[in-house]
């Protein structure tokens, strides 16, 4: 919790992006989280990513549930639309918003408790429906806001701050997302912005359900010796399979790579995700291979990070439901609510 307002002053060389904003314009209110919380780093990465993407802030809707992680939507994109839902219900509220207006960019922010414990069903259904969104899980293995109880992603055998051992099996959100058909699946670490920022940019430009499971240490309740989600533990066990460069549709591609070292994956909006493979045997476009690779590595105690799976030709819920393109809020009352006569007609047709 910080009581000093962040000064308005910025570095004199601070640049504006194509839509005329500086990075500072994408900030929100000053964070009330504990000093050193990984979640704050993720907020900084979101700010940087949106600035780099030249997104107009009013084109973003940020939705979250409950938890320290879910509070962060207040700490970035102060000029965007926002909605804090009840605990674990962000995916369904976001789905509704998305169906009503597909022109906004949807950013779902959640925690491991919010998405893997109370909201697991919601998470799973959003993935399987292919709701177009960037779904960021700020995963610290505990319920930070309620003082550090193990969450459903806590590893078996991990210790809490008082030394109690977690005997339950962990839920792997990445595994579930892969299994249920998410078309952009990544894992990252709050302490590695070089990796995280391009992943967020890729997710926000993706045409379907994109999920990033970001390991984000809770300094207050889960950053001790027996934790498997501490800064030290993740730094020691992090195994990046790839580095991605996000290349926007208009930018020129200049860097050359040896054949086989990179895979360029064009996305629906013309942006390109360039994957620099760090593990030669890893293929991020093969869902089954990705899943078994992950399992094998996890068994060796490695936390695999990077863009794990990508279907560049993703479709989304709007395609499968064949909904109209026009946002509902631009249609006018007459069209949205044609009256009882129209309703009678429909009812008659169903008799």
């Amino acid at each position: 919790m910080t009581y000093i307002a962040k000064p308005k002053m910025h570095h004199p060389t601070l640049q504006t992006n194509k839509v005329g904003y500086t990075r500072r314009d994408y900030e929100g209110r000053i964070s009330t989280l504990c000093a050193g919380c990984g979640h704050d780093s993720i907020s900084a990465a979101v700010i940087q990513a949106c600035w780099e993407l030249d997104i107009e802030p009013h084109r973003v809707a940020k939705l979250s549930g409950i938890g320290c992680s879910s509070k962060t939507t207040d700490y970035f994109l102060g000029a965007s639309h926002g909605f804090n839902t009840v605990h674990g219900r962000m995916p369904s509220v976001l789905t509704g918003a998305n169906l009503a207006n597909r022109e906004l960019l949807y950013l779902g922010v959640s925690g491991d408790g919010d998405s893997a414990s109370i909201g697991l069903g919601q998470f799973a259904n959003a993935m399987r429906r292919g709701v177009r969104m960037a779904y960021i899980v700020e995963n610290n293995g505990v319920y930070g806001l309620t003082k550090g109880q193990f969450s459903a992603t806590a590893d078996r055998g991990a210790k809490n701050k008082k030394g109690a051992i977690n005997n339950d099996n962990p839920i792997d959100l990445v595994g579930i997302a892969l299994q249920l058909g998410a078309t952009y699946v990544a894992r990252s670490f709050s302490g590695d912005k070089a990796q995280l920022i391009p992943l967020i940019k890729g997710a926000m430009s993706h045409g379907g359900a994109a999920v990033i499971d970001v390991i984000s240490p809770c300094v207050t309740f889960n950053n001790h010796g027996g934790s498997t989600k501490s800064y030290d533990y993740i730094r020691q066990h992090n195994e990046a399979v790839s580095r991605i460069d996000f290349i926007s549709p208009s930018s020129e591609i200049t860097t050359e790579y040896a054949p086989g070292a990179v895979v360029d994956v064009p996305q629906h909006d013309g942006s390109i995700l360039r994957l620099r493979k760090l593990h030669a045997d890893y293929d991020p476009t093969d869902r089954d291979a990705a899943m078994s690779y992950m399992h094998a590595r996890a068994a060796r105690g490695e936390v695999v990070t990077g863009l794990l799976y990508l279907d560049p030709l993703a479709t989304d819920l709007h395609t499968s439901l064949n909904t109209c393109e026009q946002p509902l809020n631009t249609m006018g009352a007459q069209l949205l609510c044609p009256g009882s006569e129209a309703l009678n007609k429909i009812n008659d047709a169903l008799r």
């Binding site: 000093i4 000064p7 002053m9 570095h11 004199p12 500072r24 919380c37 302490g191 730094r235």
Partner: protein
């Protein structure tokens, strides 16, 4: 890069840009905070200890601190017109609003049997007297003039510096038991040396104004005056009026004082005419502005050719028109443009084209060597001449400078004299006294006020032009009122409250990097300084400001902080979960004459650090 050695007092000192730039190293932010708290007397005394003439300097200082002030840099692209903190005018607030400070003046130790003599009663000599008299030295000061102050009294016009301020601040020093021999010029160094003083300090200034020898100078002499002589005559009331059309030759501060004085003494058409371009003029920007503000035009690129006269009665001057040409090395020459010469009619001319040192009273065979420019040969930093017990300072040492430089010389010369007379090596210099104190009071409470003000520099109110021009004794600038002083003081960034990094407790969580409003902090691999500067979060645009580099961290990276744009807002420390960042107030006071400047107080291992300061 090697990890930064913050134990070297020079490192944190340099971060306090204003204090570093100040010749006397006055702890600026320390007194600005006190002004913000309304503790004017305390603020005054901090100044008094360091720069001896706060009331005088608060009106007239050349203020090298202001161009150095960090506020001017951080307002770049953040404010319409980036400006430093009005440091100088805040000093004046302390002087104007303080209570009676007589009781705070130093007590005087019993006579130690040693006798010091100072030649001249300008700021340099008076500083020596102030530093040495309380230690028990018997200090005698000679001056040819009736009152103490040197050029402060005789040159600086009253509309910039009321005489009462000079009286008050010279008075504090003379009241310390100093023997002031007024109206007594020293005519012979030899004779002075024969009087058996233990040490002699020469603070006689640079008293000779340069003349301009062009045709007509002799014939029209009655209406041509040397600027500094004329200003002194004005100051002492010997001259009370000028003719209507006045030309002031020269582009320095003396020229500005001449023209503004002339404007107040009957001059209707007063012009400043200068050889160089407007930008290259030596006068401070604010002096030029003030002159122009009073309706005085400045004609540049005019080289004086002749004084025109009618049987000895001055009628005007002719000038050749030139332009500046720069060679490959950037060296300037003034070349005639070929345009016809210009005649500027006038009734009186004031020549303010420079000042020179002159020591006609120092016999050249008494053991004091002079260089080819006629300046004494002095030990660097000691101000000791080739005659071991004779010291020089102020304008007499290295030619005309300014008051604060004279004060700084005075302090160092006093240290030299004290060490000489206590049998210690004059060339060994004392280290400054430093103190580093955490400002943390509670989890989110700091001793200093760390909110950063967004105000732009406040303007000092002025006397109305008609009133100001009507009387040379009416002070033009009025000084801030308490409310404005508070707001201006709040613009100070507290650069002395240092960001201190502790590598051992850093967990590399990035909290400080994310929160820093100025993007000062980067965690990255180490490298050479020049290369490292290319990899910082915000571009490094100012290589004169240091990088603060830590030892290697757990991930193999280092913490690099570019000091350049730091607001000292404390957010990095506030957001650090482990207290690896702390805000610590760095106080540096130069060591003055007295027990603390003696060998017994030298830290044994820190000699090299002292040299770096």
């Amino acid at each position: 890069m090697e990890p930064t050695n913050t134990a070297n007092p020079a490192y944190f000192h340099k971060v306090v840009d204003c204090q570093w730039a100040c010749p006397a190293h006055t702890p600026v932010p320390e007194y600005i905070r006190l002004i913000g708290q309304g503790r004017y007397s305390d603020a005054y005394m901090i100044n008094w200890v360091s720069n001896v003439f706060p009331g005088v300097l608060g009106r007239t200082c050349d203020r090298p601190c202001e161009p150095a002030c960090r506020r001017g840099r951080v307002e770049e692209n953040n404010a319409e017109k980036p400006e430093p903190v009005a440091i100088c005018r805040l000093k004046r607030v302390a002087a104007d609003m303080k209570d009676d400070v007589k009781a705070r003046m130093p007590s005087i130790s019993p006579n130690n049997g040693k006798r010091i003599v100072c030649v001249g009663a300008g700021p340099a000599s008076l500083t020596v007297a102030r530093d040495l008299a309380p230690l028990g030295y018997e200090v005698t000061v000679f001056d040819g003039e009736a009152k103490a102050g040197g050029f402060i009294r005789s040159q600086i016009p009253r509309f910039r510096l009321p005489e009462s301020v000079v009286d008050e601040e010279t008075g504090y020093i003379l009241d310390l038991g100093v023997k002031f021999k007024s109206g007594q010029r020293v005519d012979s160094m030899r004779a002075l040396l024969e009087q058996g003083y233990d040490a002699v300090f020469v603070g006689s200034g640079a008293p000779r104004g340069r003349d301009l020898d062009v045709p007509g100078r002799k014939e029209a002499a009655a209406n041509i005056h040397i600027g500094i002589d004329w200003l002194a005559s004005v100051s002492f009331g010997h001259i009370t009026s000028v003719k209507e059309r006045v030309i002031v030759l020269g582009g320095g501060n003396t020229a500005m004082d001449c023209c503004r004085s002339a404007r107040r003494m009957g001059g209707k058409e007063v012009k400043v005419i200068v050889r160089s371009g407007f930008e290259e003029m030596k006068a401070s920007p604010w002096e030029k502005e003030d002159a122009q503000h009073e309706g005085i035009p400045i004609l540049n690129f005019h080289v004086p050719k002749t004084f025109e006269h009618d049987n000895g009665k001055l009628t005007g001057m002719t000038f050749e028109i030139v332009r500046a040409v720069y060679d490959a090395k950037g060296k300037r020459t003034l070349v005639p443009t070929g345009e016809p010469d210009v005649l500027v009619p006038c009734d009186e001319v004031l020549v303010a084209v420079g000042q020179e040192n002159a020591f006609p009273w120092i016999e050249r065979d008494c053991g004091i060597e002079f260089d080819k420019w006629g300046l004494p040969v002095l030990g660097e930093g000691t101000f000791q001449s080739t005659l071991h017990n004779v010291f020089f300072g102020g304008d007499a040492a290295y030619g005309p400078k300014n008051i604060i430089t004279a004060v700084a010389h005075g302090h160092e010369a006093a240290v030299s004299i004290d060490r000489l007379l206590t049998g210690e090596d004059v060339s060994r210099r004392p280290v400054p006294m430093t103190n580093l104190m955490s400002q943390k009071m509670g989890i989110h409470e700091w001793i200093y006020r760390n909110a950063v003000s967004n105000d732009v520099r406040f303007k000092v109110p002025w006397t109305k032009a008609e009133t100001a021009l009507a009387n040379i004794k009416i002070e033009v600038e009025l000084g801030f009122d308490a409310a404005t002083a508070f707001k201006e003081a709040s613009r100070c960034l507290n650069c002395d409250v240092q960001t201190v990094f502790n590598r051992a407790t850093c967990i590399e969580c990035d909290a400080c990097v994310d929160i820093c409003p100025m993007d000062c902090i980067t965690f990255t691999g180490n490298g050479d300084e020049s290369e490292l500067r290319t990899r910082l979060k915000a571009p490094s645009t100012n290589p004169t400001q240091d990088l603060y580099v830590s030892d290697e961290l757990k991930t193999g990276r280092v913490m690099v902080k570019d000091e350049d744009m730091c607001l000292h807002c404390g957010l990095c420390a506030e957001r650090c979960p482990t207290g690896a960042w702390d805000m610590q107030k760095f106080l540096l006071n130069t060591t003055q004459a007295g027990a603390r400047c003696r060998d017994a107080h030298f830290p044994v291992a820190h000699d090299s650090a002292a040299e770096a300061v």
